[in-house]
Symmetry: C2
Subunit: 274 residues, 2 copies
């Protein structure tokens, strides 16, 4: 099977690195020729291209690892092989999938995926097959998908080294992701920005603060797009969070030990059973 990964950044780069030696014919597309050269030298791709003109019409599985708006551009510009599968790794799915499905001809199949792994750092240099190890992989199924194609993507996930693969609708995906991925980013940003800066903060932090703010270093364009296009679910997740925060704030204010301890027992139990 001929696989072309489009965009060899931290996710696309990790794809080609993880696919090395797994029996796929892997090609890469990137605007940066040095990156293509490096991936080729490392034996992660057979060949590299700066556009899809030559390789996409021959590709069985195209995985587009670009920003959401650039995925749309790439689909519009390229001619895909009949019977081939096209995929992406965009962080939200429902708004995006509606747009993509309208663009594509009937003789190709679109299966969006979400590899739940990433790094704060951008670029091929930070790509690594290790990020997929023990990580979760989500396959987004829609009405036009064939079960054999879904199976192909499940096989791909297992070959990439993912620990768990789940299949779900784009709506379910966007709902759960608003809680497990988007809300944590919002909280990290709010925590970082709520510093009064009265002290030299860096001298008074431990691992908990470091862990909770790691993702406060955030790609502003990408995440603004992801948040605004998942508004309904994200606002609901923020609301649920604020309810819990309010319960604790009130308990602290009223010296209510029992409510605090109850909330701590609950969170400890949930975290242990995650």
């Amino acid at each position: 099977m001929k696989v072309t990964v489009v965009g060899l950044g931290v996710i696309g780069g990790s794809f080609v690195k993880a696919l090395k030696g797994k029996g796929f014919e892997v090609y890469g597309i990137d605007s940066d020729v040095d990156t293509l050269e490096q991936a080729k030298e490392e034996g992660c791709i057979i060949d590299g291209f700066t556009d899809g003109v030559q390789i996409i019409p021959e590709t069985d599985l195209t995985i587009i690892c670009l920003y959401p708006s650039l995925v749309i551009d790439f689909i519009k510009k390229n001619h895909f092989k009949a019977g081939s599968i096209i995929s992406d790794a965009v962080g939200i799915k429902s708004y995006f999938l509606n747009e993509v499905l309208q663009l594509l001809p009937d003789n190709v199949e679109y299966i969006s995926v979400h590899p739940m792994a990433g790094r704060e750092k951008k670029g091929y240099a930070y790509a690594s097959k290790e990020v997929f190890k023990d990580a979760n992989f989500i396959i987004i199924e829609h009405q036009k998908n064939k079960s054999e194609s879904i199976k192909k993507m499940q096989y791909l996930a297992s070959q990439l080294g993912f620990h768990s693969t789940k299949i779900m609708s784009p709506y379910d995906h966007d709902e759960i992701i608003s809680y497990t991925s988007q809300l944590p980013h919002i909280l990290a940003v709010a925590l970082m920005n709520s510093d009064t800066q009265k002290y030299n903060t860096g001298k008074y932090i431990g691992d908990s603060f470091r862990d909770l703010t790691r993702i406060a270093n955030i790609n502003e364009d990408l995440w603004t797009e992801l948040f605004l296009n998942n508004k309904k679910y994200l606002l609901s997740s923020i609301k649920n969070f604020k309810n819990q925060l309010d319960i604790m704030e009130k308990a602290i204010s009223e010296n209510d030990e029992e409510i605090l301890k109850d909330r701590f027992r609950e969170s400890s139990h949930r975290r242990e059973h995650l």
Copy 2:
């Protein structure tokens, strides 16, 4: 200098492990004889005791690594050497220090410290000198402290392997800690408890969720005590956080890209310069 560490849990255990081979005469007190035996076998303590009757009257520096209320009990029960220093590693300082200073005779000096390092897991088995490496150490200075005693504690911190040592008042300590340590714990608990549990959450998380909820597994008795005794500062830190969260919630609700991007640029800048 004869140093006795009281309570060989994850922090006290890390103290004795980090002090090994640094030229101090180190003793340990713990209610668990197996822990004392293990620490002795590992060469981390010269000898171990289940109470302070014999060793405390001979000790130059007593470091009490127990829960806040147990620190008070230990001080009440023991007879300290004239001219010796007594310290603790309790997470908040002002309410605690007032109480302790009233208990102690004038011929001993109390210097509270806060090693900003820890683990979610409890007990000597999880203690390690590695947790202090590159970590922050805070020395709490009050009116009765002598500068030479403060210098002794600075030397101790450097020998323990801490990267940075800061000296501050108990009030300043409690204010900054309400933001850098207590608020992150509150947020982690609220995030964990705000799960609607509609999905099998563990299958849809990545490192960001794991990082932000690690400390949601929280010791309910200890942290309830720490939070309620630092109420004023903690409520203020929660308020500052909620202001930032509200700004983003409103921006998402109103599709205000500019405000979101501004908040993300600010948090990224702050996180990079931490």
